[in-house]
């Protein structure tokens, strides 16, 4: 699970510090769990609902505050959490992020299934799950709307724009989860209280045997900026909806858009 700035803010309040190449969170806007990651936890909990012996671990790489998103996962029903956090792990590129997460998965050992969101809602890259799969040498199935585990294999319904596929892969496997899987469950107060008592470890880069060369960037962020929108809207005038509509139809025709 990844902690991100709340993504549903009005676009006008979105600001970037171009010098540090970072987003400046608007005051009072909370950090939240990335939407698709909560759905990945939901997918894990549905597997646990079917077989209560399944153990679910929530991993997050980020600032110490990312503890809060792990607690959300624990409140949803996960069994334990691992926060990977230290100063040497800030500003990693996507390949280094996957290196850290796959090292943590190897350290946990005996992991049958890795579930991730189909993309994070800040960078929207959609590469982490697949990169992890390559690093732990597991098959990957992306864009799941249903995930089931049986007889040592995972069966995934993949949702694509023009088709739905059913794909099987042997465990261990990696599956990235899409929004079509459905809403993440909403923890009850009692579950939120119980989550505080569940084990939550913190690991640093050294705990994973990772040093600076292992995390060297392959992709460099050269700049981050807010694009200048030079659109000036032309509002259709008219005394009646019919006049406004006809004005629009004529403008669309002049602009060769219809």
């Amino acid at each position: 699970m990844k902690q991100v700035p709340d993504w549903d803010i009005p676009p006008a309040s979105f600001k970037v510090d171009e010098a540090t190449k970072k987003v400046v969170p608007p005051p009072g806007v909370a950090a939240v769990a990335s939407q698709f990651d909560e759905i990945a936890v939901e997918a894990a909990m549905r597997i646990k609902d079917a077989d209560n012996s399944v153990k679910v671990t929530v991993i997050s790489l980020g600032a110490p505050t990312a503890r809060e998103v792990i607690k959300k996962g624990l409140a949803m029903g996960a069994d334990e959490g691992v926060l990977i956090s230290d100063d040497s792990l800030n500003n990693l590129d996507s390949s280094a992020v996957a290196t850290v997460l796959s090292s943590a998965i190897k350290k946990l050992g005996d992991v049958d299934l890795v579930l991730t969101g189909r993309q994070a809602v800040d960078w929207d890259q959609g590469t982490t799950g697949t990169l992890i799969a390559g690093m732990i040498d597991a098959p990957v199935v992306t864009f799941a709307k249903a995930v089931a585990v049986n007889d040592g294999k995972v069966t995934v319904e993949r949702v694509l724009p023009d088709a739905t596929e059913k794909v099987e892969a042997p465990l261990p496997a990696v599956v990235t989860v899409s929004n079509e899987l459905g809403e993440p469950r909403y923890p009850k107060l009692q579950q939120i209280m119980a989550a505080g008592k569940k084990p939550l470890q913190t690991w640093a880069a050294a705990d994973l045997g990772l040093d600076a060369p292992a995390l060297a960037p392959k992709l460099t962020l050269e700049s981050l900026f807010v694009p200048v929108v030079d659109t000036k809207v032309e509002i259709m005038e008219g005394d009646t909806p019919e006049e406004q509509a006809m004005a629009l139809a004529r403008r669309l025709k002049e602009a060769k858009l219809i």
Binding site: W7, T127, T130, A163, L221, F225, Q244, M246, L252
Partner: protein, 320 residues
């Protein structure tokens, strides 16, 4: 020494799809050496002659590639990359490209930048620009490893037109490591225009008040030969299928004309439609965010504006 640009050609029913010509166009304009293509699948060799504007097309044609699997296609793409030794590999940000690109990067030990909307060579390195933070920001990345792998957003690049096909070189790839198996595939109904391919999209928001009021959205889409979209709130309420949701957690569309009806224009939604060439907003709130991104707008109630607009467009189209 890696050299040139390798693009992933995509073929559907034996025909090269539009993104392929867009990738060739983008690769040629980079001026980063010879442009070649890779064509992967079962029974695809014949289509190699239809990939134009390239010096060479590398083909892996194998029965094991009849269905797309990440494992199978990455084995084929890696075998081609080894043979071609390109400095840059471009794929479309399509179903196939967005799945294959990170897997290929992982296999080749290099980096990938997704959903590129602009690119250039700078100091001998590929620089890509992509939307981030739900389209609110642009990120420019450069690569320090080769090959640089990037996916390119459909319709963001001008396609090449015409040109000659390149030489065809068959490459064999080891399919023994394929672990995933597609056991079933159901094509979505072919009725209407696919949202991602539509040149006109008409979307409705929660402001429509009820699922019945989508009748006007459907009719306007029909009159314009376009597809129907909706906001996340509408999909969450179950008024429309999730497949129609445009936005950060739905689909990203880039039509020529995007008509947003009773949609306020939250970040979530704009992330899915801000790449549209012309946004037209219909909303009764003159201060709605959507008007800031729109080229044309009508401030008014959809209940009276929509029927009038459908009539007006029919009338104007009839005038020829």
């Amino acid at each position: 020494m890696p050299n040139g640009v390798l693009i992933l050609a995509e073929v559907v029913d034996g025909e090269v799809v539009a993104i392929t010509n867009e990738l060739v166009g983008a690769a040629q304009r980079l001026g980063a050496g010879p442009v070649s293509a890779m064509l992967i699948g079962a029974g695809v060799e014949g289509a190699a002659a239809k990939v134009t504007g390239v010096e060479k097309t590398y083909v892996v044609d194998d029965a094991a590639l009849a269905q797309y699997t990440t494992d199978g296609y990455v084995a084929a793409a890696a075998a081609i990359a080894q043979q071609a030794d390109p400095a840059i590999i471009l794929l479309g940000q399509t179903d196939m490209g967005r799945d294959l690109a990170p897997a290929l990067a992982s296999k080749l030990g290099t980096a990938v930048a997704m959903d590129t909307i602009a690119m250039e060579m700078n100091d001998g390195k590929l620089h890509t620009t992509r939307p981030a933070y739900g389209g609110n920001a642009r990120a420019v990345n450069s690569f320090s490893t080769e090959p640089a792998i990037a996916t390119v957003r459909p319709k963001s690049q001008d396609a090449i037109e015409g040109g000659a096909a390149g030489a065809v070189e068959k490459v064999s790839a080891d399919m023994s490591g394929v672990r995933t198996n597609v056991v079933d595939r159901q094509e979505a109904s072919a009725a209407g225009v696919r949202l991602e391919d539509a040149s006109v999209v008409v979307s409705g928001g929660r402001g429509l008040g009820s699922p019945e009021n989508f009748a006007g959205i459907e009719e306007l889409a029909k009159v314009l030969g376009g597809a129907v979209g909706c906001s996340r709130a509408v999909a969450d309420l179950g008024w429309r299928p999730v497949a129609e949701q445009v936005g950060l957690t739905g689909k990203v569309v880039s039509p020529t004309v995007y008509i947003a009806v009773a949609i306020s224009g939250a970040s979530q939604h704009m992330a899915g439609c801000s790449g549209s060439k012309n946004i037209i907003a219909i909303n009764k709130d003159a201060d709605a965010n959507i008007f800031k991104a729109a080229r044309f707008g009508i401030v008014g109630d959809f209940k009276t504006v929509m029927p009038a607009l459908i009539d007006a467009i029919k009338k104007v189209k009839d005038e020829g």
